[in-house]
């Protein structure tokens, strides 16, 4: 019985905490906790031992504008969204492709980059246009929006690819292009452009992008008490877009800038 009372009390406590306002909490603590993974270049990665990337720069700006410290919590991607739901951090850097399905579960920030899907192929492979994957072994990362688009695109070809392997993360799929088992991987343009720029002797980007236009946003909690915090983040992101800071950061990390809508209300996928 005592055990039950304790559990009930604990649930009550967490319910009470959940009714507080997330922005007030962050401002009062002076710290915003941001969850992310560190194997998602050029958004978040470890360069010569230091956590760096676009997210780092963007959240530094957000922290400055809000007047709070940014505390990073880095997990494997599998643990990031569960961690957000368990209340371990206030927002996720990631980012994630904004999809209709995910918008039912998370509140996305204003888009921070284009996420449109294209192919990364091995440099010496005979793949010049997306349609060239017909009859070849290709791959993607399991459970990603990018893989879903690849499968859809492959279904439209007269000759389908011989196989579409599913990897735990994109990094293993890149390793398998290098090993020669597959010839191409579908992922968002900013990511694969970075891969190809790091090792041009192994990888190349196949243009044009075959996917429908999609965007990356930072996922946060959808509950009403988090609305104030997400609104604040949006406000700062929009200001950064207006005053050119965002374009500067995109140029720095992607070598190009993207035209992005201020808000995504009806994603294409």
């Amino acid at each position: 019985m005592r055990k039950h009372l304790f559990a009930a009390a604990a649930l009550c406590a967490s319910a009470v905490m959940a009714h507080a306002d997330a922005l007030d909490d962050v401002m009062a603590a002076g710290v915003m906790k941001v969850g992310t993974e560190t194997a998602f270049a050029p958004f978040d990665f470890i360069d010569a031992g230091t956590h760096t990337g676009l997210n780092m720069d963007v959240f530094t700006e957000i922290g400055k504008d809000m007047g709070v410290e940014i505390e990073w919590i880095t997990l494997d991607w599998t643990g990031v969204l569960p961690g957000l739901e368990a209340g371990r951090f206030d927002v996720v850097a990631g980012p994630a492709t904004i999809t209709a399905e995910r918008m039912k579960r998370y509140r996305f920030s204003s888009p921070i980059a284009e996420a449109t899907v294209a192919l990364l192929a091995c440099a010496k492979c005979d793949i010049e246009t997306p349609e060239d994957i017909a009859g070849k072994a290709i791959g993607g990362a399991t459970g990603t929006a990018q893989l879903a688009q690849l499968q859809e695109f492959a279904a439209t070809l007269d000759t389908p690819p011989t196989s579409i392997s599913e990897y735990v993360s994109f990094n293993e799929s890149y390793a398998d292009i290098a090993s020669g088992r597959i010839e191409a991987v579908a992922n968002s343009l900013p990511n694969i452009a970075f891969v190809a720029s790091q090792r041009p002797e192994v990888f190349k980007v196949v243009k044009p992008a075959f996917g429908t236009p999609t965007y990356f946003g930072y996922p946060g909690r959808i509950e009403p008490e988090y609305a104030s915090l997400m609104d604040k983040i949006d406000e700062i992101l929009l200001a950064m877009k207006a005053d050119g800071r965002m374009a500067e950061l995109q140029e720095k990390w992607f070598g190009t800038t993207f035209d992005m809508p201020d808000y995504i209300t009806e994603p294409n996928i």
Binding site: L81, E85, G143, E166, S179, R181
Partner: protein
């Protein structure tokens, strides 16, 4: 936070197929590992000192490095030296070789536990080496090697979860993928915990059964 197992269990066919893959690779891999380990231990026991020393090196390397690193190098590194294995083959081979290193040590301890006098006596009465192994050494060490063998089988079961890294659709990845598609993260973990726990208890039960029968035989 409420728990909803129904959204995961709706994907039962996928879960069962993942479970099938896990069980298949586990059993085939463990059997192959045990046989290979026995062969290695036997070579070390009867092959003379050079063979003994030569085989010790790969065993130390295999036991001293994580399976994750081994399977990664085998699958993604193999093609650079002309060894392009399919995911299934690489997975099975990886588990078998990793396990063999441990089973070789288990059987080595088993060989050492048999008093030399027993072997000498068998030699005196004219038994061949094969007869000595099958009629004297194996039965005498059976009871001793059983518990660590089961223990090792349990460890190998858990290592099979890493094969998702090389695109083998085993259970851990299958269930976790369903969990994240349905946003039922914790439920997926609970299901995984229960299924693995059941498999481990099954292995332990079979082990105890075998031990009991063996001790009856030797009594």
């Amino acid at each position: 936070m409420s728990f909803d197992f129904a959204v995961i269990l709706a994907k039962l066919p996928q879960i069962l197929s993942g479970l099938g893959v896990t069980i298949l690779i586990w059993i085939a891999g463990t059997l192959a590992a045990a046989v290979l380990g026995f062969v290695i231990a036997t070579l070390r026991r009867f092959g003379g000192r050079p063979v003994d020393v030569l085989l010790q090196l790969p065993i130390e390397v295999l036991r001293g490095t994580p399976f994750l690193v081994q399977i990664f190098l085998l699958y993604f590194g193999g093609p650079y030296i002309g060894l392009r294995l399919d995911p299934w083959v690489a997975g099975l081979l990886g588990i078998s070789i990793y396990g063999a290193a441990y089973y070789a040590e288990i059987f080595r301890a088993g060989y050492q536990s048999v008093p030399p006098g027993h072997v000498e006596a068998a030699e005196c009465v004219g038994l061949t080496r094969n007869q000595i192994i099958t009629a004297i050494l194996l039965p005498e060490m059976a009871l001793l090697v059983m518990p660590p063998s089961i223990n090792m089988a349990v460890i190998l079961l858990k290592e099979t979860a890493l094969l998702s890294l090389i695109t083998v659709p085993e259970m851990t990845m299958t269930v976790q993928a369903i969990g994240s598609q349905q946003y039922a993260f914790v439920e997926a973990l609970v299901i995984l915990a229960l299924v693995y726990w059941a498999l481990v208890e099954l292995a332990n039960w079979l082990g105890r059964l075998a031990e009991r029968n063996l001790s009856k035989l030797s009594a």
